[in-house]
């Protein structure tokens, strides 16, 4: 599953996303082409990378059997779609690469999942996400900074969004996308993490400690602390997150143009209703 949806080439931002992603993408594509040809290789590859990954995601997303799932960036060997289908979902897989779509269709047929998986040639930005109960976005899809907020806006209120971020050194290859909403982060094998966002919780309040630079919103709850209210951290105020310090350090915020650093344990109890805005961490 070379998960590649190329969305508007001209808007690819950040050095890490440029060019560097290409060789690695080629490598992943190569492996997945291999596995679409050889079933032994395919099984090992699947077991290594996808089986546990998708299972933990399905559990965290509380996906019910019979759900309609959209998979963006399925690639030539759509393991994620296979796993989802085996978990009982009806999958629509899309990719922007015609060759990948062709291979994925053949792979679905030979895996005996042709009736559960529909593969379409489409740009992830153009898919209408409203009719799905769950949306999976592959790691390699770029730029997530545009796709994820777009999906969050359009998807139905009962649905769940799952996407993958790199952890650790992989971050240098693929940009990491963080959304200013309540989310579950599941750490995965080999430098990945899965982000699970329930749309229902998006409009709800979020602890300040879960927000990343670029996020902003309205304060709805502040714990008792002699310094917070004088520094402007009061109910009803507009707050912007400008930094998260390293090693579990404080969250840096600006209220009325005044900057302060708030320890994470306190920030956990400051609740925000975020407004939509994004930036990679």
């Amino acid at each position: 599953m070379t998960e590649k949806v190329q969305l508007r080439r001209h808007r690819r931002r950040r050095g890490a996303m440029k060019g560097v992603a290409r060789p690695s993408l080629q490598a992943v594509k190569f492996f997945e082409h291999l596995s679409s040809k050889h079933s032994f290789f395919s099984r090992q590859y699947n077991r290594l990378f996808y089986h546990r990954l998708v299972h933990s995601e399905v559990a965290a997303a509380q996906l019910k059997p019979g759900s309609r799932v959209l998979h963006i960036g399925c690639g030539p060997m759509p393991f994620t779609s296979f796993e989802l289908a085996q978990a009982g979902a009806v999958v629509t897989a899309v990719d922007i690469d015609p060759r990948a779509v062709e291979k994925a269709r053949q792979a679905a047929v030979s895996a005996g999942l042709a009736s559960e998986i529909t593969v379409l040639l489409m740009d992830g930005m153009d898919v209408d996400p409203r009719q799905y109960d769950g949306i999976w976005v592959s790691l390699h899809v770029s730029p997530k900074d545009e796709l994820i907020p777009n999906l969050l806006r359009k998807m139905s209120d009962e649905s769940v969004l799952v996407y993958r971020n790199p952890r650790g050194w992989l971050r240098l290859w693929y940009g990491r996308c963080r959304q200013p909403v309540r989310q579950r982060v599941v750490r995965q094998f080999l430098g990945k993490e899965s982000i699970i966002i329930q749309k229902q919780e998006v409009t709800e309040e979020v602890p300040l400690s879960e927000l990343y630079p670029g996020a902003a919103g309205t304060i709805v709850h502040v714990p008792e602390h002699p310094l917070l209210s004088p520094l402007g951290v009061r109910k009803g105020k507009h707050i912007a997150v400008t930094g998260r310090c390293m090693l579990g350090g404080p969250i840096v915020v600006a209220v009325d143009g005044r900057s302060s650093a708030i320890h994470r344990s306190l920030a956990q109890n400051v609740h925000i209703i975020p407004e939509h805005s994004t930036r990679t961490a």
């Binding site: 630079p213 602390h225 002699p226 310094l227 917070l228 209210s229 004088p230 520094l231 402007g232 009061r234 109910k235 912007a240 400008t242 930094g243 310090c245 390293m246 090693l247 579990g248 350090g249 404080p250 840096v252 600006a254 009325d256 143009g257 005044r258 900057s259 302060s260 650093a261 708030i262 320890h263 344990s265 306190l266």
Partner: protein, 600 residues
């Protein structure tokens, strides 16, 4: 307490932290209270004569607070002063944590309050003012920092504010003195009107309602040109690991370079030639013409002659580093960078049992441990304070000692200085890690304001340096001359050699130093730098120098520091720190000497 009806008026100077109260205080009294671009500079309060008033007036600089809910030490002091201000002048008192019992006498209330408002952060200033107004005392408000507010596109109408609050409001710019004359006139008017203190307790209102009221007032008097944007990207970069961490390293290395380079330059090219060329020949010929050669003459101008070493060491060796250190520190303080460094390092410091805020006392400790110990009062938990104080006493050399170490070692090799710095940093980390495990208590949860980044103002830097130099001469040089004097008496009378002989197995066998190196170990108890300085006069190998400097680094903090720890904590704490530091010094020094001896 004045029992008689004293004609003296007392004016409380109040305001939120970091608003420029101390600058106004200095302006009105001509006194020197330290100021910095971070919160909690005035943990002690000071009083001074209000100059140029027609009536004898005492101005009292109250510690900056955000509220008067008495939720911390500074607020308790402020609340107490509103009811009962200190009455003697020029007194700088340590605020005791005991609340005075309600006096049976009619408490002498302050005649008026001068409340400093921050035009940039009007709401929180008005919040404090609302508490002060509850006391029904005559109040004048200074609307300070209007220049910075204007730059940020915030306009505050002082006329409207004055109308709503019913008190005089004067716009001021404290560093330039703009508006201070009018402030004085308004205060004079208020005092001559005989605004006697009405007796009315402040009513306790719900903080939420109070904030609501204050936000309403602020909205009516304040006009913003544009919506407040968050800070420039550069500012944000400073607190990120990349590139904030390398920038922090560069800034700290740069400061270190400034301290060492400027200090060495001043010593080599200005002070040393001056004293050796002109001052000492004068002293020597003067003493020789007055006294016969003998013990007294040797005490004055002999090997430890206190007119020679007692003047050379403080003025040519320590003083240049005092100047360069406080210049670097003043730049860091005035720019507002330190709270950012604190935020950046908070996560790391949490692992050492401290919050990022303790970077300020730690850095101050490189100047002198005593103000650093005072500054730990701003830290939140007792555990954090204890850890910070232990680190300061054990591993952070004061500037006098640093000057001595640099002079001692730099002439041999810079690598030794670097090695010592590495040892010191390792010791900082391991002390923190160890005490974090040993002491119980909650993890400090820091909330710290990151004030505007401002370019340091030369006038402020100059003033601070002048204060520091004066203070060094009165509090540093004089005791040092005395200690050297005592040392020369001990030395010439032979007592020192006797004591040295007692310590000699430790010194010669374990530390592999010459027998006379016992002398600095005894002197070091009196003043920290004296544990190093006498080594200068001995002919030591590089390893011996390193051992000596290492022992001096970890060795006991000076007697004044021990006393202030005992005052701030308990005598047992002070003694425990004393014991730990000297044991560590001999242990580490001995191990290095033994291992080094095997290798070389």
């Amino acid at each position: 307490m004045d029992e008689s009806a004293s004609p003296r008026a007392s004016v409380l100077l109040m305001g939120p932290p970091n608003v420029g109260k101390s600058v106004l205080f200095n302006h009105f009294t001509g006194m020197e209270v330290s100021c910095a671009n971070y919160i909690g500079t005035t943990v002690e309060y000071s009083t001074g004569e209000f100059r140029g008033m027609s009536r004898d007036t005492l101005l009292i600089d109250v510690p900056g607070t955000y509220t008067l809910e008495a939720s911390n030490e500074a607020e308790e002091v402020a609340v107490r002063m509103l009811a009962n201000p200190p009455s003697s002048r020029d007194e700088i008192r340590h605020s005791s944590s005991h609340c005075e019992p309600t006096s049976k006498h009619d408490p002498s209330k302050p005649s008026a309050v001068l409340c400093v408002l921050d035009a940039v952060n009007l709401e929180s200033s008005l919040y404090l003012l609302s508490y002060i107004l509850d006391y029904r005392l005559p109040v004048v408000a200074a609307l300070n920092r209007i220049d910075i507010a204007k730059k940020k596109g915030i306009h505050v109408s002082h006329e409207k504010l004055s109308h709503i609050l019913g008190i005089p409001v004067v716009p001021t710019i404290a560093p330039t003195g703009a508006g201070t004359e009018e402030l004085k006139q308004q205060l004079e008017k208020l005092l001559s009107a005989g605004g006697q203190a009405e007796t009315a307790r402040h009513q306790s209102t719900d903080p939420l309602q109070r904030w609501k009221r204050v936000e309403d007032i602020a909205a009516r008097v304040q006009h913003r040109e544009k919506q407040p944007e968050h800070r420039s990207t550069f500012d944000e970069l400073l607190i990120r690991p990349w590139p904030g961490l390398p920038i922090a390293v560069l800034i700290l290395l740069g400061s270190f370079g400034l301290v060492v380079g400027l200090g060495m330059g001043l010593r080599q090219f200005l002070l040393l030639p001056l004293f050796r060329g002109y001052v000492f020949p004068l002293i020597i010929s003067g003493v020789e013409s007055l006294l016969q050669p003998g013990m007294l003459q040797r005490i004055l101008i002999g090997e430890y002659g206190f007119l020679i070493k007692g003047i050379e060491w403080p003025f040519t060796l320590v003083f240049p580093y005092v100047l360069s250190f406080y210049l670097a520190m003043a730049v860091l303080e005035d720019s507002g960078y330190l709270p950012r460094l604190g935020a950046l390092l908070d996560g790391l410091f949490n692992r050492l049992g401290m919050s990022g805020g303790s970077i300020i006392p730690l850095l101050l400790g490189y100047g002198c441990a005593i103000p650093a110990i005072m500054a730990t009062r701003a830290l939140h938990t007792r555990k954090e304070r204890l850890i910070a104080v232990s680190i300061i006493c054990l591993t952070i050399p004061c500037i006098s000692q640093t000057g001595a170490i640099i002079t001692l070692l730099a002439e041999h090799s810079a690598a030794v200085v670097f090695g010592l710095a590495v040892f010191s940093l390792i010791a900082v980390a391991s002390t923190g890690l160890l005490l974090e495990k040993l002491l119980h208590g909650p993890l400090p949860a820091m909330v710290i304001e990151l004030p505007e980044l401002l370019p340091p103002r030369p006038s402020v830097l100059g003033k601070k340096l002048a204060i520091r130099s004066k203070r060094f001469i009165s509090d540093g040089a004089v005791p040092m001359i005395g200690a050297v004097g005592l040392a020369s008496v001990l030395y010439e009378s032979g007592l020192m050699t006797a004591a040295g002989r007692v310590l000699s197995p430790l010194v010669t066998l374990w530390l592999r130093l010459p027998e006379e190196a016992a002398v600095p170990l005894i002197l070091g108890i009196m003043r920290r730098e004296l544990s190093i300085l006498p080594l200068l006069e001995m002919d030591l190998t590089a390893l011996q120098l390193f051992t000596g400097a290492l022992v001096g680094l970890f060795y006991v903090p000076c007697i004044a520091v021990v006393v202030s720890i005992a005052r701030e904590f308990k005598l047992t704490t002070a003694l425990l720190i004393l014991l730990t530091t000297s044991t560590t010094a001999f242990l580490v020094g001995g191990i290095v000497a033994q291992i080094g001896g095997l290798l070389i």
